[in-house]
Symmetry: none
Subunit: 198 residues, 4 copies
DNA sequence: TATGAATGAGGGTTCATTCAT
DNA sequence: AATGAATGAACCCTCATTCAT
């Protein structure tokens, strides 16, 4: 329950977090068992409660780790104004790649905080807000079509990220860079062949 | 376990299914309690087992209802070839609207079979396959850009549907028709203002 | 609960008894399920209670059938006095064969009333009493050795019958006649080669 | 499930085994309740599952204890060849007394493993095999009558042991020694007064 | 004579959590 | 910093039995 200051204590705590991450990611909150976590961490059940006050507490801590990570990333990725039209694609792709890279590098946390936890909804909402705000800036600068509702677009983007993360990234089918490229191409240019509006 | 033939039996069974749908949708599989389901259905626990062999069995039946519904819908929505370029948007929007309408009309089932059940992943994959196959037909007919990987596009589309369903549809913010319109506009035309390719 | 007088009723009752005999014999009292009995008798559960007041009631009735049968048999088999020494073996073998024949012809009842029911102990005790009484008569007439405790002998005899019934009779390895012959030979003459007591 | 290593744990485990032995012996498998066992062992139900994985598991362990005990006893009791005719009776009586002593000293286990468990049949078969093999040796050495089927004799002997254990031993009517003496006398010499075969 | 529908009572088992050391 | 031992609180499920028709 205390943050146990000694070195050994800190290590044990980390071990529990890492094992728990794996178990939660794999089985979900309910099917993940404290008994299994401590066994894999080479500890007894009471020891668990030396470091975390409850099963929920460690789960929440993992969610917090995810949220902090992703939010920090997004905050530091605001696209500065004043870009040229053609630079935008590059810039957006770059930000997207960083996000996907983060998800890819933190698969357990992603599974927990981006997919299964009830709060995933809230986290996604936060992302959507940031993205939508970015998009609106560009829109006002005349880069994007005026008639689009940028909140809907942002939700769609997050949806695409979600699905492609689960099906391509976490299954090692595509790299973050490749996924980013395809999303950007699709979202910027759409499906249809541009028909010269004469 | 048996399908109890009389009229009353059938009604009771339906009542259990409807109540269970609500409970599972609201609380998820584990937090949903048989005791609560039967209480809301005005029955005792043993009565439950007259109609379903286990908690899992009724959950699976609900998932099956969802899958059957959505798959049937998709199968009957294949876009026939030979459309004009500008008809496509209409047609796609129409199909999309039907899908969103189904999700909207079956909120409990959607929550269970499209979001929370492990098999949701498989169901989405099936949808993706059908959609991708449709898209590739159009692509070969020259309507869509050759350089797009239609599987990735299909995943993105499903992701967008997923997110917009949860955030707009199930929260009564937008109607199926409106969501469909926006998705189609975004996916067909993209974000950027078409720059006349001189 | 009533003895249901009509013909059809009597038939149904018999069917239930026969099916129950099989189920109880095969699975024992607790593992035998009313649901299974009625299913095999092509009836519904409430119908069962038209003929028997409870699960225990039908079980007891079967035990009663067994006890009545075997006791009647024994009562009618008292060995009349005045036999010659060498006739005794024949006579005893005959009685034994009848008993074994009864057990063999009523396998289900035997399993229930002779092996598994708590009252089997009492039934065996009754048999032992009758047999011991018979044996003591012969003993007093000078046919059997004076130093033997006939109650112990009777218990041993019943034990032999028990085991040989289960292992030889009910498995169709030996016939009642053959089992009777061997038991009589063993119990009358013993294992050892008679050493002429010079 | 685990063998809980500390001293206290081992004691608790033994307590559970002893209490369970009594309950199973008295009521049989189905009527014996875990709730009653733990109450008599001064524990709560979950504690039971610290030591045994299920109700069946502890029952099986008791059966195993019985089987191991009796088989070990029998294995160490093979009658060595080369005995004089008149020593045989002594020797057989001694072995029998040991067996009956074991049954007498382990009444709960005997009830469970020798009487009520389905496997009792198999255990008895094992005993019969060992006994029959012993008997056949003596028979070949000319001590016992050639015309006897020793398997049948062995079954009869086990039957006698069974019945006399239940009716005399477990009811404190006769001692193991006395029961052994009577069985040996009966089985070796038979009922009839040896008629000098002149 | 029989059935469709339902229930009361109880049983085994699991799991997060705590006490005492 | 950690463990052996134990528990409170639930939950799913089964089965004999009954009600109403």
């Amino acid at each position: 329950m205390s943050n146990a200051k000694g070195l050994k204590g800190r290590e044990t705590r980390q071990r529990l977090l890492r094992v728990a991450e794996g178990e939660f990611a794999l089985h979900g909150y309910h099917e993940a068992k404290i008994s299994e976590i401590v066994k894999k961490a080479d500890l007894t059940q009471p020891a668990f409660y030396l470091y975390f006050s409850s099963k929920e507490a460690i789960y929440e801590e993992l969610v917090r780790q995810f949220r902090t990570g992703i939010i920090d990333l997004l905050e530091s990725s605001r696209i500065e104004p004043g870009l040229q039209q053609r630079e935008i694609a590059w810039r957006v792709a770059f930000v997207l790649e960083r996000i996907l890279g983060f998800l890819n590098d933190n698969r357990g946390l992603t599974q927990i905080g981006f997919i299964q936890h009830p709060e995933a909804e809230a986290i996604k909402k936060t992302i959507v807000d940031i993205v939508a705000s970015n998009l609106r800036s560009e829109q006002e600068l005349g880069y994007f079509r005026k008639e689009l509702d940028m909140e809907v677009v942002a939700h769609s983007l997050v949806g695409a990220i979600d699905r492609l993360t689960v099906t391509q990234l976490l299954t090692d089918r595509l790299s973050p860079k490749e996924v980013a490229r395809q999303i950007v191409d699709l979202f910027l240019n759409g499906l249809q062949i541009a028909h010269s509006p004469e």
